[in-house]
């Protein structure tokens, strides 16, 4: 198995992916997000599109690309739901932008770092969704559930780590 290594700053900052991967992974995540709860309802606690956005944002380390990807995935995630189209789009755009910004400054290939980032960004998204629903859309019945959100973030972080390892294999190593 070839050992991956960074040979220059460019490779350290941006990882490249095949266009098919870039298209298929988010769409697959969106589809599973819709389909898996039908098999077992508690699986709705997962946020696979968020994991996909986080992975590509911190891998690209490009804020604009992270923002655009987060917006696109969030909007697509809003389509099959019952809410307004754009709520997840806004939340994931901010998450994508922030993840790309942090990806420039920390070692995102470390497993612990990845788990902590997923935990933090999942909580950030929950906070953003709460603010958007409660104050922008004026849905006063939308209550904060801190314990539920922490559990949700922990589960997503646990699921994200092996998914990140799988997605690492889809990177294109230009200097191998």
């Amino acid at each position: 198995m070839p050992r991956r290594s960074f040979v220059n700053r460019h490779e350290l900052e941006e990882h490249q992916f095949h266009p098919v991967v870039l298209l298929a992974v988010p769409l697959c995540a969106l589809f599973l997000q819709s389909y898996l709860p039908h098999i077992w309802q508690p699986l709705s606690i997962l946020d696979l599109p968020l994991i996909a956005v986080l992975y590509f944002s911190i891998s690209w380390r490009n804020r604009i690309a992270g923002t655009m990807l987060g917006t696109a995935v969030g909007l697509l995630q809003d389509l099959p739901g019952n809410g307004y189209i754009g709520v997840n789009g806004m939340a994931k755009a901010i998450v994508g932008y922030t993840a790309a910004s942090i990806g420039l400054k920390v070692d995102v290939d470390n497993v612990i770092t990845r788990a902590l980032m997923n935990l933090g960004f999942c909580l950030l998204q929950s906070a953003l969704l709460f603010v958007l629903q409660r104050y922008l859309l004026g849905e006063t019945d939308y209550a904060a559930q801190p314990v539920h959100e922490v559990i949700r973030a922990a589960i997503n972080a646990a699921v994200a780590v092996p998914i990140f390892l799988l997605l690492d294999r889809t990177r294109i190593n230009e200097y191998a």
Partner: protein, 393 residues
Amino acid sequence: MESFFSRFRSELVLALLLLLQVVGLAAQMGRVHYASREDGHNVRTVRAWSAHTITPLETFLVHVGGGLRNTWHGYLDLRHVRQHNRDLQYQIDQLRLQQAGLAADARQGQRLQQLLAFKQQYVWHTVAAEGGGTGGGDQTRILTIDKGWTDGIRPDMAVITPDGVVGKVRDVFSDSSQVLLLNDPTSGAGIVLTGTRSRGILHGIQGGRLQISNLLPDDRIKPGEPVVTSGGDRVFPRGLPVGAVRSIKVDPEHQPYAAILIQPAANLDRLEEVLVVTDVAEQLTKAALAAGDDGDEAGKKASDVVAERLPGLTDNTKPTSGAPAAQGAAKEPAVALPRPPQAIHADRYSPGYIPPASDLTPGAQDTQLAAPAQQRTSPAIRPPKQAAPEDQP
């Protein structure tokens, strides 16, 4: 200026995308809510595209999963099937006996309902559909089914299972539809608590739970009390099982109302096949009403039927033809009315002291009223006649 745009390019992109989505949200909030729309063709194009893209794949996976399950259960896992078959045959025999008795009770119940002029809706025609996908995430409770406009599905149709109510159709596409489940926060249904007959509105809350929040606390409402649809929402036929009361407590955010949590009768988290109620029939049709007006026995008023069967003040053995009725009207009714006892010292409060209004003169002095009852000659103020011994009850 150029350096500003190049320096803050990513921030500007983020701000622009957020602004566009805020504008999009504002445009959506100005539209009519989905659930109140009647025309299924006017769904948002993007949602339709999404459904057309995702639904076939979901349906394929559901069919593959169903095929695998059927193969396992139908061909491989056949242990104890003979014993089960014998048990089931015995149960069928027993149920046939019970069915005969229940059928007689049902016929009697229908006759009684017709007598009491209950106008009750019944499920008349349903379309079976298979659940395929969800809305994604735990914030919305949506079920995608594989039947659409071409199968006769229309928005706001009730969706049920044999266990109970599931939800209602929200968006309808050509070959698929989206069902808004009862436990979605935007969903609602009119319900009746069968024990107390309290009517309320059931809606979903976060976490996929069901709650009634417009009823005041009532000690008579106990956990386990069945909840059925009231039919008042014009979506769900009345009398369908919804669930049972799980708990009741004071709602801290909406005092003095109670927060009554409901355990749904149908398993809303695991819906394989559902029934869409495409047509409801009213039991008491106009034809039946017209037939009832023709003097049919079944068309009599409930009060008449009850009056005939209960012991009353009138003599039921009397002939009821027209001619004797006129004679009967002239006669004094043979009724033993209770009468107050005669006063020992009559005063102005005694019965019969006040003359009838027809004997009084407007503007006259009330000397008549001031006179003792015994001195007046008006028949109205005459002391009440002592009842005959045979009239005493």
